[in-house]
C-alpha cells in the first residue's frame, strides 16, 4: 500500500457507519491539525475518548491542590494544563491571583533543586497523568530519597488506561475499534490491549502522532472490521517507539513505587484498580491523594461527561462556544490543550 491508496480507501469507504475512538487527546489534536476528518468518508466517525488525564480529574482534586497552595511555606507545582481547570470555587490560576503559591513546571525533576535550595518550603506536585507520566514520579521519589530531600509531596491523580477502556467496551456498545494511546503504549506495550480486544472482539491498533501514522491506523482498523475475521492480535503501527512488551524498566519503576486503587473518572465514575497511589513505604511523600472522588456539580446543560466517553461530539453540547469557551470554561474538556471541546473550538 502507499499513502494515496490508503486515502482513497478511506474516502471511498461506503459500508456500515463505523465509530472509531482515538483514546488519546494528542491524537485528537493531530487529527484536527492535519484535516484528516475532511479526508475520509462521512461513514467513518472519529470519536474522542477519555485520554486526557486533566479532563477526567474531579474537582475535589483541584480543591486539594489549592488548599496546599494557600498554606504557609508550601508551593504547588503543576503542569500548565491544570492551571485553569475549575475547582469547586476557583481554579489554581484564580487562587494564584488571591495569593496562592502556584508555579508551572515542565518536568517533575525541577522540584528536586527547588526543594534542596529551600528546605523550609514544602513543594507539592500536582501529579496528574497516565502510565506515560507515572514512572517519572517514581524516579522523582527515588532521587529524593537518594539525595535526602524530604520536603516534597505528591498529590496524585495518576490513572491507568486499560480499566477505562474496559469500561467503555462494557458500557458504550457503539465503538467499533480503538486507536490506542501512543505514549501510554510506549510504557505498557502493544500486547497489553490483547486481552480486551480478544474478549470484546474489537480491533485495537497502536499509532504514532504524524498524520501518516493516523491515516495508516484508520485504514488498518477499517480493513480489520471489513474482513470480519476474529480479532486476535494487536496491530502496532508505531514500531519506532512501541514494543510489544513495552518498556520493562519503566514498568518496574512504576510497580516499585505505586500500587493500584480505585479512581474517579469524570463521565465514567469510580473505576476499581484504575488509580495509582504511592505505596505505604513512601507515605512520607504522600499529599493525601486517596478518596478525592467528589466532582462539582456542573451546570445541567454541560455534557462534559458524555463528550469524554464519546457519546456526543463537543458541538452537540448546548454550552459549546456560547456559555463555555477556552477563556471561560465550565468543563475541563474545554480547558485542557488536549480536551476534545477545546480542540474542536480552536479548530472550528
Amino acid at each position: 500500500m502507499n499513502i494515496q491508496e490508503v486515502i482513497r480507501y478511506l474516502k471511498e469507504y461506503n459500508g456500515p457507519e463505523l465509530r472509531l475512538m482515538e483514546v488519546c487527546g494528542t491524537h485528537t489534536a493531530s487529527i484536527f491539525k492535519s484535516g484528516i476528518r475532511s479526508m475520509i468518508s462521512e461513514k467513518i466517525r472519529l470519536i474522542s475518548g477519555p485520554g486526557c488525564p486533566v479532563c477526567v480529574t474531579p474537582t475535589s482534586y483541584i480543591d486539594r491542590c489549592i488548599d496546599y497552595a494557600m498554606k504557609d511555606n508550601h508551593v504547588l507545582l503543576t503542569f500548565g494544563d491544570m492551571i485553569k481547570v475549575p475547582g469547586t470555587s476557583s481554579s489554581l490560576a484564580e487562587a494564584k491571583g488571591e495569593g496562592a503559591r502556584v508555579e508551572i513546571m515542565y518536568s517533575p525533576f525541577e522540584a528536586l533543586e527547588k526543594a534542596e535550595k529551600n528546605p523550609g518550603v514544602t513543594y507539592v506536585l500536582a501529579a496528574v497523568g497516565f502510565e506515560t507520566t507515572a514512572p517519572i514520579y517514581g524516579l522523582l521519589i527515588r532521587e529524593a530519597l537518594d539525595r535526602g530531600i524530604a520536603n516534597i509531596r505528591l498529590v496524585t491523580a495518576l490513572k491507568t488506561v486499560l480499566p477505562a477502556l474496559e469500561w467503555i467496551c462494557a458500557n458504550e456498545k457503539g465503538i467499533d475499534g480503538f486507536i490506542c494511546p501512543g505514549h501510554v503504549s510506549v510504557i505498557i506495550g502493544s500486547d497489553a490491549y490483547g486481552e480486551l480486544a480478544h474478549r470484546y472482539q474489537r480491533p485495537f491498533a497502536v499509532a504514532g502522532f504524524e498524520p501518516e501514522h493516523i491515516l495508516a491506523v484508520l485504514y488498518d482498523l477499517v480493513h480489520q472490521i471489513q474482513m470480519k475475521k476474529p480479532v486476535e492480535d494487536i496491530h502496532n503501527l508505531y514500531t519506532n517507539a512501541v514494543r510489544a512488551e513495552g518498556n520493562p524498566k519503566a514498568a518496574e519503576v512504576l510497580h516499585q513505587y505505586f500500587e493500584e486503587g480505585p479512581a474517579m473518572w469524570r463521565g465514567l465514575g469510580v473505576i476499581p484498580g484504575s488509580g495509582l497511589y504511592l505505596k505505604d513505604e513512601f507515605a512520607a511523600f504522600e499529599g493525601g491523594s486517596r478518596g478525592l472522588e467528589t466532582d462539582r456539580e456542573l451546570p445541567p446543560e454541560c455534557r462534559c461527561g458524555e463528550v469524554i466517553v464519546g457519546r456526543i461530539d463537543p458541538d452537540q453540547c448546548p454550552m459549546f462556544g456560547t456559555g463555555c469557551t477556552p477563556t471561560n470554561p465550565y468543563g475541563p474538556c474545554m480547558v485542557s490543550a488536549e480536551g476534545a471541546c477545546g480542540i474542536w473550538y480552536r479548530n472550528r
Binding site: 500500500m1 502507499n2 499513502i3 485520554g51 488525564p53 525533576f109 507520566t133 480493513h223 519506532n240
Partner: protein, 69 residues
C-alpha cells in the same frame, strides 16, 4: 499531557543526559532507558521514556508496506 518529543542524546553522565532538540540542549533524566550517545530518545516531561531506533521516514515506509490489502 502525554506529549513526547524525540531528541538526540549528545552526552550521558549517570542518570542524566544532554539531549539535542533541533539545536537546543536540554537536561534529561535517562533512568528509564539504556542511554547511549548518538541514540534518539523519546522524551516526556524531562525524562526519556524510550529509545527510537529508526529514522522517521523509514518507519513510515515500513508501516505502509506492512498494511494488509
Amino acid at each position: 499531557m502525554c506529549i513526547a518529543m524525540p531528541g538526540k542524546i549528545v552526552a550521558v553522565e549517570g542518570n542524566k543526559a544532554k539531549v539535542d532538540f533541533k539545536g537546543t540542549l536540554v537536561d534529561v533524566h535517562v533512568g528509564l532507558i539504556d542511554a547511549k550517545v548518538g541514540d534518539y530518545a523519546l522524551v516526556h516531561a524531562g525524562c526519556a521514556i524510550e529509545v527510537m531506533e529508526k529514522e522517521k521516514a523509514l518507519e513510515l515506509m515500513e508501516i505502509f508496506e506492512g498494511l494488509e490489502e
